[in-house]
Amino acid sequence: MQLTGENINFKYTKKSPWILKDISITINSGERVGVVGPSGYGKSTLAKILAGYLKPLAGSVSLDGGDLPKKGYSPVQMIYQHPEFSVNPRLKMKDILEEAWVPDDDLLGRMGIEKKWFTRWPSELSGGELQRFCIARVLSPKTKFLICDEITTMLDAITQAQIWNLLLDEAKKRELGMMIITHNKSLAERVCTSIIELPELNHIERADV
């Protein structure tokens, strides 16, 4: 399968400067594309556009030539930087995990998720533990592409390595296509199959405005 963004242009409001200009990106199944670059270059915006959460002003996003599905389970899923903000604080962990599908015990074991955490609230888990739930909940068999937006930036190095080792095993097994946003170059070199840098052009334009 192939996820493509073609000539994507985006800005948030009419008056604001362009964030992305004529960005094209192609991700095939089994590929892990790293996107690196300093803050303010539009990495997260590009992620949200590819996942279908934002509409580009010009250009298009397509999955195998067709549009992303407008309802139901999207084969393109996202994992966010702050797991504590991407879960519903009023749901217990079991309900959060099973929002879209019910992971089996085998997957939970591989993800290092313990059953005794199921009855806890999100605030009662650490960032690393919470992030495992966020990963397991998007690893439904229907997921074909994963977009990871700085998913281990706030974690210590040991937890970071734990999470990435789990996720990479799973991604290789299922031939997932991934877009990996990070500002850590050595991490990108370690986990990605190719790396792109967003053009600095945008940034200079932003400074001029």
Partner: protein
């Protein structure tokens, strides 16, 4: 080497309400020892939420009333506590807080930077040095961008030409290259004799700028060692936790150990790292003192073995 700040067996606990009027004590920093000499940058590295900021606030006497602080803190050989530190704050000791919210929202930034002891000339000199355009001093914090506000915090810390700077996460949201660029000024200050305690969660940043690194884990410092010991490989490190931390970096082995950091309130007895440690035995229970091993300090019962 002249010793500036020395912290010995610091303990911080908060008195909290459980249910109704039932109180309990939550110990967040335990047996923490640390020292900073003139002209060096010591980085305290630990994961987010593990209590690093509380360390800074405890030393500076900024904690709320329900906190209890015990242990020895000395500045240039004089014992200090939360009252006696007041005469040093803003002059000899400066604090760069983590968040730009620490600026007064209804005071012009120029006046804030000058504060009680500063002068207009020094403020203008610092603003020029930190690329803050003319006229910035007449602005209010909401009129300044995030990057400008950060630089304003730095200039206000430097106003009194401090001997010791405690900087809590001074480069949030910057990538490594920009953060290192921003910390160049710190290096320059240190080379001119200022001691800097840099609190950060970013180990790459610490490796790039610090002279010594203090490894912070679950509310205590497990190892304090020269930065050279951390670069490239973990062989020279003394504590199993710092070894596994360095091994887990993507530029090294990228192999993690099992488990997670324990919470304050749910801590193991004896060595804090022992539940995850491969060297664990009877020696790990009980009180383990900070000992000197191969030019660094470490809190591990097995450090002297290997």
């Amino acid at each position: 080497m002249e010793e500036l700040l020395k912290v010995k067996d610091l303990l911080v606990s908060f008195s909290m309400y459980k249910k109704g009027f039932h109180k309990y004590e939550l110990e967040v920093i335990h047996q923490l020892s640390l020292d900073i000499n003139k002209g060096e940058i010591v980085a305290v590295v630990g994961s987010s939420g593990s209590g690093k900021s509380i360390l800074a606030e405890a030393v500076l006497g900024l904690l709320p009333k329900n906190a209890t602080v015990t242990g020895e803190v000395t500045y240039k050989g004089n014992d200090i506590d939360e009252k006696s530190i007041r005469k040093y704050l803003g002059k000899d000791i400066a604090y760069i807080p983590q968040s730009v919210d620490h600026l007064d929202p209804v005071m012009k930034v120029g006046d804030q930077v000058i504060g009680v002891n500063g002068t207009k000339e020094r403020q203008e000199e610092l603003f020029e040095q930190y690329n803050l355009p003319k006229g910035t001093e007449e602005k209010y914090p909401f009129q300044c961008s995030g990057g400008m506000s950060r630089r304003i915090l730095v200039t206000s810390a430097l106003m009194g030409r401090p001997d010791l700077i405690i900087a809590d996460e001074p480069t949030p949201g910057l990538d490594l290259k920009m953060a290192l660029e921003a910390l160049k000024d710190f290096r320059e200050l240190a080379d001119n004799g200022t001691g800097i305690l840099l609190i950060t969660h970013d180990i790459d940043l610490a490796l790039g700028v610090a002279d010594r690194i203090a490894v912070f884990y679950a509310g205590s410092v497990l190892e304090l060692a020269p930065v050279e010991d951390f670069v490239h490989n973990s062989d020279k490190l003394r504590h199993p936790y710092s070894q596994s931390l360095i091994k887990a970096l993507p530029q090294n082995d990228f192999t993690p150990i099992r488990g997670t950091q324990p919470y304050a309130g749910d801590l193991p007895s004896g060595c804090l790292f022992s539940p995850r440690c491969w060297l664990r035995d009877d020696k790990c229970a009980g009180n383990i003192p900070m000992t000197e091993v191969r030019g660094g300090k470490v809190r591990c019962a097995h450090a002297a073995d290997g």
